[in-house]
Amino acid sequence: MERECEIALVSRLRAGDVTAFDDVFDAFNHRLLSFLIRMAKNRSVAEDLLEETWLRLVSGGENLHADTRLGPWLFTVARNLYVSHCRNRAREQSYTVDLTLLWPGGLPQSPFDVASLNEFEQRLEAALALLPPMYREVLLLVGVEGLRPVDAARVCGISPESLRKRLSRARQLISRLMADQDPFMEAVRKEVGNS
């Protein structure tokens, strides 16, 4: 989203413009849902957290600063809600990922969908799911969502230097996870090397 567009959008949000909300919703809903599902490893929990995220935008929209960057703001709210959820429920999901939870109707069936979710991506998703949340979130924010490291640091509530270290550690961990596992992961590692 271009900066000028974003500033105009924030201004309309502050005025309580419903169409501005729709524009933000359309721009970020998929990304936030993907982030939360990969963090929570549970679609239903992610949907609840995301609904609360949108309601926070509605209730706090009037109080946004004129120069608010919507992406980092929304990811911060979503991430904090996830952290609160983990604290309140005192739970982190088991270290297994059920990819069928990621799609409402099970795994995609059309050839295009199957191609879009190739074996490598499944392996990468599985390796991501194995990471501790503090490392998973930095890879998701920087690697998947493309946030600037300074924005990702703000989302996580840490300094840019801490984020750099955490990102480096996350890379090491995921590489080790992908290398250490069975021949399936070995193939993944090769694909990373060849891509």
Partner: protein, 82 residues
């Protein structure tokens, strides 16, 4: 950053977005629209309430000033008569 790190980030960037359930999207969007409308109407009501209160305060202050002026005038008249 090593070449492998770059490749890893590129691979992560290619991960597919996860599709939301359409019914869920409709429900959440509707809830948010309702909340926005509710806030707008509350804001409008509060605005009207504030302006009404302001007029009342102004009227009360005016009456009080007239009353005090009358009291002072009467006091001055009485003081002058003694």
């Amino acid at each position: 950053m090593t070449q492998d790190d770059d490749r890893l980030l590129q691979a992560l960037a290619r991960l597919p977005l996860i599709e939301p359930d359409t019914e869920w999207v409709t429900r959440v969007r509707t809830n948010c629209h309702t909340a926005i409308s509710r806030r707008a109407s509350r804001r409008a009501r509060t605005g009207r309430g504030l302006s009404g209160t302001g007029l009342f305060d102004l009227a009360a202050a005016t009456v009080l000033c007239i009353y005090l002026a009358a009291v002072l005038a009467e006091a001055a008249r009485l003081a002058g008569s003694f």
